[in-house]
């Protein structure tokens, strides 16, 4: 298989990622214990007759997909693959509320149609008039990783251009419920050394155009992805990481930057906190959830962060765990975890 190049990104997040020039210079803070995405004016990306039916997840997804395609200068793809943990949550809520409030009568079709998890991929396909492979993974904390793995397999089958993305939205009710369950807290400082429990719930949409050709807009190469379900100890994770890197004839000492998914919850971060001393012996380490918060597909924001770091060859001070700057950033590894259950490794290189 030829290399897989990341040739375009589109990111709507709690940070100013909609501005192409922005590179983690300063971070917007959380709203106490959760983040809201900074949303663009959608009229620039979506026709008004379509916009009126769309919930926020769909708008964020379609806009981010559009931005990624524009950046890569691509108008048609061989596949559209999305990942989402909760899907179009706002429309699901709207439909269920109508069901309850109207005593199961007078149910309108729009919110039901728009509430399905695959609506974002479908809308992008409809707008692009793309009749190719269109798939949505709803694998909780592995949703975006599954999209990446599928894309890599499709490249092995000879596909040339693939749009992949991770989408998540929250609603005031959802934030309130998670808060009542004592799962949220204000961001600890620093996020990688938390001693208290609770995440900062968040949302966002990040899309990538992957191609089998290098272009002027290439940011990085996506080499491989591996998922790890409920590892018991940091030793387990380290062993799997050694094997993962070995399959690429690499070892940890060759990783220039490691992007780690500290969520700020001491329980969920336990394994990553134990791995940190080993990783930072040889690699520069950065966090990313202090910028994007925690959600099922935060790994898409991690991929955005890692590919921008490779492209710029700069480690942003706002994310750096310590002030160690490699002379060249060749290999970048993402180690993510979601609620201490879903772990993943994503390996990137410069091109």
């Amino acid at each position: 298989m030829s290399k897989v190049y990341i040739n375009g990104t589109g990111c709507i997040s709690p940070q100013n990622t909609i501005d192409k020039q922005w590179f983690f210079e300063s971070l917007a803070p959380a709203q106490e214990d959760y983040f809201n995405a900074i949303e663009p004016s959608y009229k620039e990306f979506i026709a008004p007759n379509l916009l009126r039916r769309m919930g926020r997840a769909i708008k964020m997804g379609v806009a981010a997909g559009n931005i990624a395609l524009q950046e890569a200068n691509v108008t048609q793809v061989d596949a559209i693959i999305t990942g989402t943990g909760l899907g179009c949550f706002e429309d699901s809520e709207r439909f269920l509320l109508a069901l309850v409030n109207n005593d199961e009568q007078f149910l309108t079709p729009t919110s039901f149609i728009q509430s399905t998890h695959n609506t974002v991929g479908a809308q992008i396909g409809l707008i692009m008039k793309c009749h190719a492979y269109n798939y949505t993974y709803v694998h909780r904390g592995f949703s975006f990783e599954s999209a990446m793995i599928d894309a890599l397999m499709l490249f092995k089958e000879g596909k040339q251009k693939i749009l992949i993305g991770g989408i998540e939205e929250h609603t005031p009710t959802y934030v309130q419920l998670i808060r009542k369950a004592n799962k949220l807290q204000a961001p600890p400082h620093p996020i990688w050394a938390s001693t208290s429990k609770g995440i900062q719930l968040s949302e966002g949409s990040t899309f990538f155009v992957l191609e089998n050709q290098r272009t002027n807009s290439t940011l990085a190469c996506l080499l491989d992805v591996q998922t790890l379900y409920k590892p018991k100890t940091s030793t387990d994770v380290l062993e799997k990481l050694h094997l993962f890197l070995k399959s690429h004839r690499l070892d940890i000492s060759q990783i220039d930057v490691c992007v780690m998914g500290f969520s700020g919850d001491v329980d969920f971060d336990k394994i990553l906190q134990e791995l940190l001393p080993t990783i930072k012996q040889s690699s520069s380490v950065v966090a990313f959830k202090n910028a994007c918060g925690e959600y099922h597909t935060a790994s898409a924001f991690a991929l955005y962060t890692a590919s921008k770091i490779i492209k710029h060859q700069i480690i942003p001070d706002t994310l750096a765990i310590e002030n160690k700057k490699p002379t060249e950033i060749k290999y970048t590894l993402i180690i993510n975890q979601y609620l201490g259950i879903n772990y993943s490794f994503t390996l990137l290189s410069n091109c």
């Binding site: 008004p48 007759n49 009126r52 009568q105 007078f106 309108t108 079709p109 729009t110 149609i113």
Partner: protein, 85 residues
């Protein structure tokens, strides 16, 4: 009839989430589908629910929809003909 037409315009805007449209923008005699408001088949389903929800009218024969939903005025006339205005 005029009061019913104005009421219907507001209900259509709300039900179809026509955020950019104001009641005065809707010509009661202009077609709802195609040229006029540019509604589509999903909107047609929303309008059927609107009639049932607000006026207690169930459209028995789907073929009647073409005539009933021609314009805001034809909708109002149908509601009145059913004695639900």
């Amino acid at each position: 009839m005029d009061a019913l037409i104005e009421k219907l315009k507001g209900q259509i805007i709300e039900q179809l989430n026509l955020a950019e449209v104001k009641p005065e923008d809707i010509n009661p005699e202009a077609p709802l589908f195609g040229d006029g408001l540019g509604l589509d088949s999903i909107d047609a389903l929303e309008l059927i629910v609107l009639l049932e929800k607000y006026y207690g009218i169930k459209i028995q024969d789907p073929k009647d929809g073409k005539t009933i939903f021609q314009s805001v005025k034809t909708m109002a006339e149908y509601i009145k003909s059913q004695g639900k205005a």
